[in-house]
């Protein structure tokens, strides 16, 4: 009877009793949610245009963040100013992500065109291993601090008093949410309005047809891997600002897996809605169910269990296309 009360009634009593705290929980969930959505978008873009599940997305986040911090540390003694160094390091890091996209296409993907999907998937595991090794070799394995201030990301906090209570929004979280929203919207506009975006959608829809109208595989692949790189950099900056820059950052990409299970690997809107939903739900579950009932730390597994339960009822995911095969 007590368990019944703890599971089904008590959490809601608490939510109702302390609405300001509930808002705080929702906000924290939203912050992670938009970041999951952003990362999931990186997966979706690459999968749609090449049928490759990019295992390296996570390490790309680490690599981008490491490059940014590394370049910044390297540049500061030369230019003598933190902010100028950051202003130079940022475009240079973008350049590195572009070079990475080009090399991946040239060295890994192009020779494997036409091979089974699983081979390409394994190749991305290879890329992951390479980037781990290369990253440690160049930047060292120790943890680093994201150059939050030099990048001009605000670090204060905004306070509200909703329902006569107390709500605290960290400014860098606000920045993360705004940046993620801006990135997602510009990606959507790019995909739906521009000729390049149309080419990406076309390639995702029908490979042969896309080739026959003269869409070049290489150009589009470089482009989507670069976009994935930009997304990785953005995620690396804001997540690194919260948790520090280390190889452990890689796990944020695996948080996108349940998002993809939910949203479907091919759906852009699925990635966005799925990401936000998982971010919110896992936070709310952690606070109101996880900590009292399981002793906390449920965020590591909640999303996966949730996605599995959804898949039991909707095997194609929430937004995936139902495949009806004519036999």
């Amino acid at each position: 009877m007590e368990t019944f009360y703890n599971v089904l009634i008590d959490p809601f009593v608490q939510m109702y009793g302390m609405p300001d705290f509930f808002l705080q929980v929702l906000w924290e969930g939203l912050v992670s949610g938009v970041l999951y959505a952003l990362i999931a978008l990186g997966f979706v873009l690459i999968f749609k245009s090449s049928r490759i599940f990019n295992f390296a997305q996570g390490i790309m986040v680490v690599f981008a963040a490491l490059s940014l911090v590394g370049l910044h540390t390297f540049l500061v003694p030369f230019v003598g100013n933190e902010f100028v160094a950051a202003a130079i390091a940022m475009p240079l890091t973008l350049g590195i992500m572009y070079a990475l996209a080009m090399s991946v296409e040239r060295v890994v993907l192009r020779p494997l065109v036409g091979q089974p999907d699983i081979i390409l998937f394994m190749a991305t595991i290879g890329i992951t291993m390479f980037l781990i090794g290369f990253g440690e070799f160049v930047f060292g394995g120790e943890n680093k601090v994201m150059i939050t201030e030099a990048l001009g990301i605000p670090t204060g906090a905004i306070e509200f008093e909703p329902f006569g209570g107390f709500l605290l929004l960290e400014e860098k979280d606000v920045f993360a949410v705004v940046m993620a929203i801006v990135l997602v919207i510009s990606l959507l506009v790019f995909l739906n309005k521009s000729a390049m975006g149309r080419a990406i959608r076309a390639l995702g829809d029908d490979h042969t047809a896309a080739l026959s109208v003269g869409i070049s595989l290489s150009t589009i692949w470089v482009l989507v891997w670069f976009i994935a790189g930009v997304i990785a950099l953005a995620t690396g900056v804001v997540w690194g600002a919260r948790a520090g820059v280390s190889f452990a950052l890689e796990v944020i990409a695996y948080k996108a897996l349940p998002v993809l299970m939910l949203g479907g690997l091919e759906s852009v809107s699925g990635a966005i809605i799925g990401g936000i939903a998982i971010g919110l739900l896992e936070k709310v579950f952690e606070i109101y169910w996880g900590q009292p009932l399981f002793g906390g730390n449920t965020e590591t597994w909640f999303a996966f269990i949730f996605a599995l339960i959804v898949l039991l009822f909707r095997p194609q995911g929430l937004f995936g296309e139902k495949i009806i095969e004519r036999v």
Binding site: K193, A195, R201, A202, D206, L211, S212, G214, L223
Partner: protein
Amino acid sequence: MTVMDPTLEEVKKRAEEREVLLDLENVSLSFGGVKAITNISFNIKKGEIRAIIGPNGAGKTSMLNVINGFYQPQEGVITFNGEKRKSMKPHLAVSQGIARTFQNVALFKGMSTLDNIMAGRATRMKRNMFWQMLYWGPAQQEEIEHRKKVEEIIDFLEIQHIRRTPVGTLPYGLQKRVELARALAMEPELLLLDEPMAGMNLEEKEDMSRFILDVNDQLGTTIALIEHDMGVVMDLSDRVVVLDYGRKIADGVPEEVQSNPEVIDAYLGVSH
């Protein structure tokens, strides 16, 4: 035969006077031990409608795939517009002016008719990637110009009413027409049609025949087509090449080919 019909000699003479657009010389293609095409030579002349026929598995589609760069032949020389071709990629074929349609419609099913046809202009979009990512200024201007051209094609093929419809939901005959529209959007010099009338009813076939003739006539596009409906082939084409088991068994104007005993054997089988 009425007086107005040109004689066989006249037809042949007219065909010979035309300039060669695409020339294939001793082309062979194999997949491992399977020989898809063996030592085939023929040409396609400017402004003609050239039919490629033959029983199933004769190598017709492989031939088209070689022409537009999906397959690389192991042997042989291909000359397009006077230029000898080295290695080939489909997108290069498009920028040289070769467009195609497929046996089983290959459209972007989730996209609208308009988007499908606009995608056909991919190689004609010259503004670089970063302008396009911004979708600003020159890129937007360019989009508008291309849109005009696409609207002309839509009018030409009478598909105004399905502009905004996702093509996956269209009936088969219309899908084939959208595919033709997309190929035309590339403004090709050579248009390859792989069974443009497969699975169509009589009325749809007549419409499609009319469009093919119009494209050839009004736009001056050279057309190479694979088709199984012999009535259509004989009516539409200026010259016919016949393949069987990856070899060429006949080549000439329709009347010649029709009366060729080897062709009749290939189609009807020989008694042994």
